[in-house]
Symmetry: D3
Subunit: 256 residues, 6 copies
């Protein structure tokens, strides 16, 4: 049975909403350069894939992905100077987030999980959620969880994925984690033969505007994806799904 809200008729959706424990997940991605080996849609694909795995566990539903995200930053996503990176103004992203939450609330959704797959989205999603909650008022029964999926990686998983030690999430753009997950979820979209061999980017503790494009590796990859594998992707996908599922069960009292 599908977990995609978009694949249900309104009648079927309404039936599902009779159950107060229904969890709706909203994947939030981006259209953003991910090096020569990963597709522009990586963040949207991964946030949707993980949301669907979790929804399958919980008999939940997944809303259509927000496919465009906030502006890519040099130190986390390579920056806005790459062709293909297609970003929204902060206010636009906050407003569409507010708008769809307002609608989910009208439908009677009680348990919403915003699954972010693009680091730069975080604060504008947060603002959109806050604007919606203010509008709904304190008496409304809707609760929302917002998460960046990689934050659920356990140390155990990270030690498997990075046997030589985990260098931290900061440079994990188009690197081992995302490449492995894509090899697991969408292997046809990964061009392993185009994997650049690079040293990790080395960024100073500040940002410059206009972007200092010379700081960013020409490939757009911030640290090497060498060592990525479908097997590591599977491992992470399973652990992330399990951990997120567990967190949802923990936080939304009606969800078992």
């Amino acid at each position: 049975m599908t977990v995609l809200m978009s694949a249900l008729s309104w009648v079927a959706y309404q039936e599902r909403l009779q159950d107060d424990s229904l969890v709706l997940l909203l994947p939030c991605g981006a259209l953003e350069q991910h090096g020569p080996h990963l597709p522009l849609g990586t963040d949207a694909l991964l946030s949707a894939a993980i949301a669907q795995s979790v929804a399958t566990n919980l008999n939940g539903l997944v809303a259509p992905t927000l496919s465009y995200g906030y502006k890519s930053q040099p130190k986390s996503g390579g920056g806005q100077h790459f062709p293909g990176t297609t970003s929204l103004d902060g206010q636009s992203l906050s407003q569409i987030t507010r708008d769809v939450i307002r609608e989910f609330a009208r439908h009677g959704v009680k348990n919403l999980v915003v699954v972010d797959g693009h680091y730069e989205n975080q604060w504008f999603l947060t603002e959109g959620i806050d604007l919606a909650m203010r509008e709904l008022g304190t008496a409304h029964p809707l609760s929302i969880m917002r998460l960046e999926y990689w934050d659920f990686c356990t140390e155990e998983t990270l030690s498997h994925v990075f046997p030589d030690g985990f260098p931290g999430f900061a440079l994990e753009h188009a690197a081992v984690i995302e490449t492995s997950l894509m090899l697991h979820f969408c292997p046809d979209l990964v061009a392993l033969d185009r994997l650049p061999t690079i040293a990790p980017a080395n960024f100073p503790p500040y940002d410059m505007y206009p972007t200092r494009t010379e700081w960013v590796p020409q490939s757009g990859v911030l640290s090497s994806a060498k060592g990525a594998s479908a097997e590591k992707g599977r491992l992470m996908a399973e652990q992330l799904t399990e951990s997120i599922t567990k967190a949802i069960r923990h936080e939304f009292s009606s969800v078992q």
Copy 2:
């Protein structure tokens, strides 16, 4: 070879942009009730399907669909009181349209086609395009075509699809045209057994606010989809694809 922009790496996308005749298509849909027999994502699915067919003809690319659209109106989409219908404020839709066009222009796109599959989107897409064009200035080489795909149906096609006479597009919500196209493109998502038998809705020449929900058939279908078939869907899809392809070749001088 894929026509999906989201499936390309930025390097591959950049290569494609070397060709000034590249056409990029942006499908614009909605998450909106389409009766008990069609899924909420119908407008997004159909605009994307048609955009992909046209892109295949033209060796073009298709950007990620705008999956959420403007508010459903009673007389064209049933109205905002149905669960599942998930709509954006007008300003939000105009802004994201403006934002992605600004980005496509930065990439060097010269030929953009906005493929609208949700009637209510039209004016807010138009405003978004206008805001982007104003910002780009008159010297920018980007040209844009905006279309509602059904407007390309020829009289010949309509006479095949409606052998008893075409009653007009006004009530074609979740009716023969959309149901046939969905039977062609996404047959698994159509529940023909749930097709309501209804007389066409009968709307007065004005709108009332708050919505007079009693005007709208309870099913959300504005006229019967009886007579819909995958064969009619195929016929329409082929003719629409051919006609839109031809129009693009006609209007964008560099496109053969």
Copy 3:
């Protein structure tokens, strides 16, 4: 006795509001080219004239006209490249619509009719109404009707006005209907001797941006106004007034 709200003192207006059946009409026009024979203010003049006729029937009131409207489109109003056409951004029009409705609601108006005389206004008026209704909340007693006046033309009227067959509203910009109505309501502002002789414009089923100005007849008239007459204008004005009056009586329960 005047039907103009602007001509009443606040005391007189307040007295009128004691009657719950009071209907307030808000005409919405534009400042837009209407060919060499009609004035720029045509849409504002006609929406106000019809609103006043209806108000006279119903002992209602007419608020000051929104004199500036949304951007003229090539296929319905000739486009934004004509001098004289003076248009608002979509958000601006929606906001002033929301603002005045918020105020009418504060005054205690129960029955509001938004009389649109400019096709391009429709969706931004709709959005403004929706924003106001959301703000007022579901318990507020204000009901609103929104109409484009020409949609009330009966087939009988159209067959009198177009004895050779009604070609449809699409090209009726500065053509027979508007010219006839202006000859009836404001004959001094019509320059019949400047009526261009043109074949109807022939538009493709899509729009191009920047505007393809070569699609639009140089005069700004989309189909010939030959055949327009004050008599036809009177006929239409009377029928429209009667039909709109009847619709208001039908929809607003307190109005007799």
Copy 4:
């Protein structure tokens, strides 16, 4: 010959614009309580009347009045608690001002005069003008004058109108100046028999929110209009017209 831009065809308007010395005047009013003896539209009527007088002198044109203005303040207009007062949010007023100036600039207008007849409009008009000028850039040939018409009253005129001494503009809401001007321009709309006899309102040097409605005379008149006469209105109208005409000739170098 008409001075109303709305009464011209676009062709006639374009011809007028060939003359670089053409002055366009934009009256800005309000729909606001003006006591029991003056109509709600007073500010719109007076700003338009004066703009038309000046336009006649200068062979200029008058654009459609902005009929709705910024929120009435207790100490200058009685406040927002009166029925009939129908006001815009500040941002809305600034945006429509910006929008119409953007359009006048596109038409080729070089000399624009914003004639304000509602005190509360001043700053939001100023902001709208500033936003338009920023958008047009420093090289654009458009110049704008903004004025509140009463500021052109000479001391000589004031000493005629107020033989017992001019108490200042602060309380001149629905009082001697506006009543006299209305008796001159629109005598049928003045109900002299409803003139309240009141002592001047006595306001403290600060404002309170929510409005202290008890500060405001119940009639909405801030000081007595006793002494108003059509003759005084004529005198003021003539002097204001002459002074404004002279100022325009002085400031716009191409205007004689």
Copy 5:
């Protein structure tokens, strides 16, 4: 004991809020040229100084100053062409005003005084207050006083400060009042030796855009500050503090 809210811990602030009679003052300034002898921060410094004096009287608190204000106008602040003048768009100022009031209301503040020290701020502060009050609704216990501090000068004070007659507030930019107050409150920031000797500026009764910079004295001072003294500053500061204190006690019923 400090009157600065920013110097209190949240625990101490919460304790103070137990007292319903607590008055919170919000100083609103600008960063704006004030001639060669006064610092750019004059309006922020003076509004904060006066707010602190009043707070000391009332055992109240002073919130952090809004340090940036609305755009300087030629006739009241010299205009936007001076380096150093650093201004906000009107909407920005209204929004931050609305935002901080929304928060003070959440804290439980009942008595708020907005102390404006920059003439051009007035209307955008008013709009921000109105937007906040609308959002809070009519039942909320927050009351707000908004004042421009100079409006509290008594005639007696003015006759001391201007022994040759008070020419009015219009040209009092960087002139006797502000210079005297700065000599009293911040003597180290006044460069009396740089005081320009100028005749009062002579402005016409209208504004021109783009700014006619030649209207404005090159120094930015609108009338001479000769005659300013710390003693006059002290006199004014004391009287203003006393009068504002008294007004607050009068208007906020719980404040003694």
Copy 6:
């Protein structure tokens, strides 16, 4: 000599701008709970103090602090439920950032450093900077550095400050770093006797809305400030100042 821009006259400021190597620093703080021992203004005070130290090194200037910041988040600042925390909407903060940068650019500032002292500000400052840069265009000579000051702490400094090992910045709200810096810069505002003894907060890897206030220690302190000292504050202040100074010299080519 002062480094405060607000303490200079416009003439003095203009003189300073003759030097293309002038650095202007903009401190960005917040009014936010910082436990029972630190004042609400901590972030504003510290960002300003550090900016002033750096400016002293570089003969630069410091603009008035943005005293109000973005909404406090439970896991980094305790959340919005504390009295005293006074936050702006994201759009408001982005707009005032854009506005003041637009003005600094007009003045001729070439080297701007945005010194953020409130973690939650980061993304809305970034958006404001981006909006300003877009408006200024690519040819404008203004360069901007944006930094969160704590990111400049060297490992050596951290090992001195945290002899038992640095637990990471995540819980450093009102903890050792901020308390030590406040003891150095503003000792009178620290109430060491009110320091709560708490275990570090333990947050899950996601956020919940409405805020789960029970996650947050009642004191608002996220980890213990035990071990804070003025000496550690001095050490950090000196190292941060030196490192930031060095980074500015490195990035702005004209600055020595």
